[in-house]
């Protein structure tokens, strides 16, 4: 018999012991270690997945933030461009305005200068015209003209109004009954007498102590003037000429004013 039952029983026991030994020393620990590792790997994978998700979330957040920042940057740039443009426009406008103002000021100054010059020129022309007339009359003046002037002057004293007479009296009373006669030419004695008599006629109160002093004054332009303590009775071409000159100057001023007003209104129209 090949089978030895004694050995068989022994081997069965041996095998069972081996099963338990290996179960205790081999399978248990190894399987446990593998399970643990597997769990750890799963755990690590889960952790990694969670972290990846987190990282992705963060990355997305960063991306969003970056986009926002870019947008903000663009907006800021646009705003800056707009502001710069505005500034530029304003500066240009201001510069233009200033240039216009300067130009207007300059034009105004120029116009004023021109007006002043023209006015002065006209005034001079007027004065010159008058002085020419005066010189002409002076040159023309002779005894005949003189006699005519005396006649006119005496007639004027004759026609002196009462107010004039009283004023003359007051003037004489103030100046110790002194009368001053100013004439453009040497006054002839005979005319002086006539004047004295005339004055005595209209001033009966001063018949005795009326003194008459004669002086020559070429600026009177073939005229005569009696001065009694500030009150004057006069006739001369000079006074006429002065009147005319005054008239001319008044006229000139008026035209200058009108021209200026016209210019201002014209500028207002073109300015708009």
């Amino acid at each position: 018999m090949i089978i030895d039952w004694y050995t068989v029983i022994f081997q069965i026991i041996n095998f069972l012991i081996l099963v338990f030994l290996l179960r205790y020393f081999l399978y248990g620990p190894i399987v446990r270690a593998m399970d643990r590792r597997e769990q750890k790997i799963v755990q690590r994978e889960e952790e990694a997945a969670a972290r990846k998700q987190e990282a992705e979330k963060e990355a997305q957040a960063y991306r969003r933030k970056k986009e926002e920042l870019q947008q903000q940057e663009e907006e800021i740039w646009e705003k800056a461009y707009a502001t710069a443009e505005e500034e530029k426009r304003e500066l240009l406008d201001e510069a233009r305005r200033e240039v216009d103002e300067t130009k207007h000021r300059w034009e105004d100054a120029f116009n004023r200068e021109k007006e002043t010059f023209i006015f002065e020129l006209r005034r001079r022309i007027g004065q010159q015209a008058c002085s020419i007339a005066r010189r002409c009359l002076q040159d023309l003046a002779d005894s005949h003209l003189e006699a005519l002037v005396w006649d006119l002057f005496l007639k004027k004293i004759d026609k002196l109004s009462e107010d004039g007479q009283s004023a003359l009296q007051e003037g004489l009373a103030k100046d110790e009954h002194k009368l001053v006669l100013r004439s453009a030419f040497e006054a002839p004695d005979e005319k002086l007498e006539q004047l004295k008599l005339k004055l005595q006629e209209i001033l009966p109160d001063f018949k005795e102590d009326l003194t008459l002093a004669a002086k020559t004054d070429p600026s009177l332009v073939c005229g005569l003037e009696v001065d009694a303590g500030g009150y004057r009775i006069a006739w001369s071409v000079g006074s006429y000429l002065e009147d005319i000159e005054e008239q001319i100057l008044k006229e000139l001023e008026q035209t200058a004013h009108m021209e200026h007003a016209e210019e201002v209104s014209d500028r207002g129209k073109t300015g708009n």
Binding site: I2, I3, D4, W5, Y6, T7, V8, I9, F10, Q11, I12, N14, F15, L16, I17, L18, V19, F20, L21, L22, R23, F25, L26, Y27, P29, I30, V31, R32, A33, M34, R36, R37, K40
Partner: protein
């Protein structure tokens, strides 16, 4: 030249005797236990693995995969039994390359003992899974007349298990012995290498067949459970 290593007695006192089959079985057991203890006392589950731990993990994973493939069940409860069958037989056979060593599996007593273990384990796992009645009902399938055939099948496959392993291992040893007398050089080395291969294949066949028997005993239950779930 003996065909039966059980007859070589190393130690004897009264009825208690230690033959070389038992002795080498103990040696293999000692080596396996020592090796397992050395490796598993410093297991790690993180960082780098020691190469021995890696080897054992590969081995156990392989066994687990095989069990899963054959039984279509989780290998947990079967691993210690089936795994030990495989490892014990494989190591016993592989050590045959060591001069002076006689593999315990070349004794019919050892293979018979292992076959008897399987013979007992099949109903044990079957009953654990399905209960006594359900398990016993299987012998009456498909009809009651099949009962004797079922029992004969059970016994004959146990016998086949024992004799297959014994025959292969014994023949390997004997062939080497015979060849040594005819062609003493080189050729026996090739036969030795072939013997190593045969030894591993036999270990695999034995373990897988054991698993198939056990699975077939607990499968009926699994199927009814699945049907119930459907």
């Amino acid at each position: 030249m003996t065909i039966n290593p059980d007859e070589i007695i190393l130690f004897e006192r009264g009825w208690f005797a230690i033959n070389i089959t038992i002795f080498f079985t103990w040696l293999v057991m000692f080596l396996l236990t020592l090796g397992s203890w050395l490796v598993t006392r410093k297991l790690t589950s993180k960082g780098e693995l020691s190469r021995w731990q890696n080897l054992l993990e590969v081995l156990i994973n392989g066994i687990n995969d095989q069990i899963r493939e054959v039984s279509r069940q989780e290998p947990g409860p079967y691993l210690p039994f089936v795994g030990t069958l495989f490892i014990f037989i494989a190591i016993s056979n592989v050590l045959a390359i060591v001069p002076g060593y006689t593999p315990p599996t070349s004794s019919l007593s050892t293979t018979a003992a292992l076959a008897i273990c399987v013979f007992i384990a099949v109903p044990v796992f079957g009953i654990i899974h399905q209960g006594v009645l359900n398990y016993l009902k299987k012998y009456l399938q498909p009809t009651i007349f099949m009962l004797p055939f079922n029992i004969i099948g059970e016994l004959s496959r146990t016998l086949a298990l024992a004799v297959r392993l014994y025959g292969n291992m014994m023949s390997g040893t004997i062939i080497v012995a015979i060849l040594l007398t005819i062609i003493p050089l080189i050729f026996p080395v090739v036969m030795q290498a072939l013997g190593l291969l045969t030894g591993l294949i036999q270990a695999y066949i034995f373990a897988v067949l054991a698993m198939v028997y056990i699975a077939s005993a607990s499968k009926a239950h699994q199927q009814t459970k699945e049907k119930g779930e459907i």
